[in-house]
């Protein structure tokens, strides 16, 4: 049972970090995107 806790914990930790990092990245992109005109965004 202890094994299950650590195994699931390791998956939870990995996926929670991925989700948090992805959310922060997208949010900062949205906030900055509001301040910069579209014609200055090289990817559009």
């Amino acid at each position: 049972m202890e094994d299950a806790g650590f195994i699931l914990g390791s998956y939870f930790l990995t996926f929670a970090t991925v989700a948090l990092f992805a959310w922060r990245t997208v949010r900062s992109g949205r906030k900055l995107g509001q301040q910069v005109p579209d014609d200055e965004k090289y990817w559009l």
Binding site: D3, T14, Q35, V36, W43
Partner: protein
Amino acid sequence: MTTIDPARAEHETERQPASPPRRSTATRGTRIIGIGAIVALGWLIAFGLGFSPADRDQLESVRILYVHVPTIWLAYLAFIVTAVSSAMYLFSKKKSLGWDRAAGASAEIGVTFVAVTLAVGAMWGRLTWGVFWQWDARLTTTALLFVTYIGYLAVRRLGGSHEQRAKRSAVLGMIAVVEIPLVHFSVKMWRSLHQEATVANLDGDTKMDGLMLFSLFVGVIAFTLLYVWLMLHRTRAMAMEDLLEERGLDDALVARRAEAAATTPPPTSTTTSTTTTGSDS
């Protein structure tokens, strides 16, 4: 039937931006890669926790392998991209800051995933060795790698122009990458508790069950897609950060010049009067 409050409608109209809506760092390409990464991560959970068999020696704890190895793979990849981008910045004639931003974004991602590798590895160590941490060669060199790239990110945040930032961090990014072979071959160079490479070994002999190897492969693909997705978003966000910073500096310079012009007595009045007098005579 709903009625529209005229006062509210007027307020809503006022809130509408006059300029066209400004778009974020997402594009059609990032959406496709993002969906691909989510699907692959779902497969990783299914294979890692469900379909793949238990190991003969490590039993169920081997399932941690499917997140532990892909996260350190992603970190290695990220740091190699940092080094390559740094070299491209330093040695190219154009000195494009895009290379510098790619190096910085990649290092941020790499540091995050080395931290995950260390934390997940500690959990695996607790199950297999009975302890969370040992000052073992592999663990210690990985911790050193983590601290080095934290230092790299700190150096990027020092003052100066974008060019100064790019130059000093490029030098560090090229030096720091030397630690990757040190981490990878630490298990061969020193006596280590950590197992040797099962897949990426020099003799090319993979000692793994087919379904286990497939699960690991799914993990590597999933995290590589995730890396590409994060890189695209982060480099675009950094380009906007640099642009706004430059604009802020330009605005500050204009304001300072205006302030200086307002406080200094205008020398042009004497000149004008002299010229006028001269022309009159």
